[in-house]
């Protein structure tokens, strides 16, 4: 079931019948994702949830143009994607800041490489650091920042370029529970200002429901598919810690979890039997 949620105009991201295959060292082929179709309307916040190793991140890399699909197509605002998707900003799971640049330089770099004069880029970077609550940390190098602070810098680094699409690969995965909540609220705040299309990958169902407009479930790999698509109608603006107590949230969580649970178990047994 891949509920088409076509808004007016072309979808921000439309994946159709995407297959992803990797060549293995022994000559075989590992098919990570099979026949995945997914569309994200402009301004829509979609979360992809699935057990570990189901190819969620792979799907994101397809949308980013970092990985070509073995079959199927990726379209961005109606245009077939060839090469990198430069309309998208990508927030990675692992540390992706430039360790040799200060926080300010890290945020400004996206503008500088696009030809914005350095002084101008730095001034705007300073604003963005303020927006993510790191106004006083501009001259710190990444290793002097905590994990949560690094993610904030990463968020500013991506958003300063004003991408039309935001791709996020378990961005808050390595953070502790409290920091995750704070980061989630920060993300929702920034997002509500200009509602970009967001594709948010996570293994945390609660986080997915609390943040998004739609939750998409992927089956356990290999050859994982999209097996569920739920609309989240909780009112916005949301506060993550409060919305989790909403009865509607709990109902939806229960409903999705019954399906996800089977896949998680399947994912584990497959991982163990390898």
């Amino acid at each position: 079931m891949t509920a088409a949620t076509m808004a007016t105009g072309a979808a921000a991201v439309a994946l159709t019948g995407v297959d992803v295959a990797f060549r293995l060292a022994d000559g075989g082929v590992f098919r990570a994702v099979h026949d995945a179709s997914l569309s994200v309307a402009d301004g829509e916040f979609v979360a992809i949830v699935g057990p570990t190793g189901c190819g969620k991140s792979t799907l994101l890399n397809i949308a980013a143009g970092l990985l070509p699909p073995a079959a199927g197509s990726a379209e961005i605002f109606g245009a077939r994607l060839a090469g990198l998707n430069l309309q998208a900003g990508y927030l990675f799971q692992a540390d992706s800041l430039f360790p040799w640049k200060t926080a300010l330089e890290n945020v400004a770099i996206g503008l500088e490489v696009a030809g914005v004069p350095q002084a101008d880029a730095r001034a705007r970077a300073k604003d963005w650091l303020g927006k993510v609550g790191l106004g006083a940390f501009g001259d710190r190098y990444p290793h002097m920042l905590s994990g949560g602070q690094r993610k904030r810098v990463g968020l500013a680094q991506v958003l300063i370029r004003d991408p039309k699409i935001l791709l996020m690969d378990e961005p808050f995965g390595p953070l502790d529970a409290q920091t995750r909540q704070i980061m989630g609220n920060l993300l929702l705040d920034l997002w509500s200002a200009d509602r970009k299309a967001v594709l948010f990958v996570t293994h945390d169902l609660e986080e997915a429901i609390a943040l998004s407009d739609r939750v998409v479930i992927m089956s356990a790999g290999p050859s994982s598919r999209i097996i569920g698509d739920w609309r989240v109608t909780l009112p916005r603006p949301r506060d993550i810690s409060e919305v989790k107590l909403d009865p509607a949230f709990l109902d939806l969580h229960r409903e999705i979890w019954t399906m996800l649970k089977d896949e998680v178990v399947k994912g584990y047994t497959q991982a163990e039997s390898k």
């Binding site: 980013a64 430069l86 990675f92 992706s96 360790p99 640049k101 490489v113 991506v158 370029r161």
Partner: protein, 262 residues
């Protein structure tokens, strides 16, 4: 351990060694001198020789020559290492073709090249520079190569997604990463530049610390050999301290290098 205690202990080690050296070379113990002064000289003679060198000023010329040779060897070797390191890291096919030859050249004990360099370049500074270059080049080359290969794939993907083209990737990603690896081996490469210069001088020269030591050895002037060694050691320590200062400035962004974690 506080800084004062540390320095005190460090000085104490030097004092004890010198006193021991003096006692063992100057006073017979159970009827015989354990370290014969002919082979081991003694601290006073060595000190006198050092003072004489500095008082007459002859030492400055030799220090200057060695410094020039080491500096040239370091600069030329580094530039060569950076260029070839970048080239090989970006052109895996070239790297694969040259790989056995690079390994071969690196495995070769560089001292055997000294006579060749002397033949080619004469007894002046350039034969010593060449010897230093062959030592420095490989250290810098391997580090730059590694620095480019080891760029985190996530950082690279991030740079691409931020819209960097090849030239910008080079400037903002590959270059800083390569430099950081090169700087982390700065102590070794600077040390080898000095080794190249001194060994080259020792094998045939008209000036330099290596030449001074070789001359003293030629006339069994053990005090002169030891004096040369001490001046060389002090020279290397001073250079090493300078390198540490430079390194601290250049690698502030590195964990532990700046030690500025709040």
């Amino acid at each position: 351990m506080s800084r004062v205690t540390l320095v005190t202990l460090q000085v104490l080690v030097a004092v004890v060694s010198v006193v021991l050296w003096h006692v063992l070379t100057s006073y017979p113990i159970f009827g015989r001198t354990i370290l014969p002064p002919f082979f081991f000289s003694n601290p006073f003679d060595v000190g006198k020789q050092i003072v004489a060198w500095f008082a007459s000023g002859v030492i400055w010329k030799h220090l200057y020559v060695t410094l020039i040779e080491a500096t040239l060897a370091f600069v030329i070797g580094s530039i060569g290492g950076i260029i070839v390191g970048f080239w090989f890291a970006r052109q895996p096919r070239t790297a694969a073709v040259f790989d056995p030859y690079v390994k071969m050249a690196n495995a070769l004990p560089r001292v055997v090249l000294a006579p060749i360099f002397t033949l080619w370049l004469g007894l002046g500074i350039w034969s010593k520079v060449a010897l230093g270059v062959t030592l420095v080049f490989f250290i810098v080359f391997f580090n730059v190569y590694q620095g480019i290969k080891e760029v985190s794939p996530t950082v690279l993907a991030n740079a691409r997604m931020l819209g960097m083209n090849e030239r910008q990737l080079m400037r903002h990603v590959y270059w800083p990463s390569a430099l950081s690896w090169m700087f982390s081996s700065l102590h070794t490469s600077v040390g080898f530049a000095v080794v190249g210069a001194v060994v080259g001088e020792y094998l045939g020269a008209a000036a330099g610390l290596g030449y001074l030591i070789q001359q003293a050895e030629g006339v069994f002037d053990v005090a002169g050999v030891f004096a040369g060694m001490f001046v060389l050691a002090a020279f290397v320590i001073v250079i090493d301290m300078l390198v540490t200062v430079v390194e601290k400035r250049l690698l502030v962004w590195r964990p532990n290098a700046g030690d500025a974690r709040p």
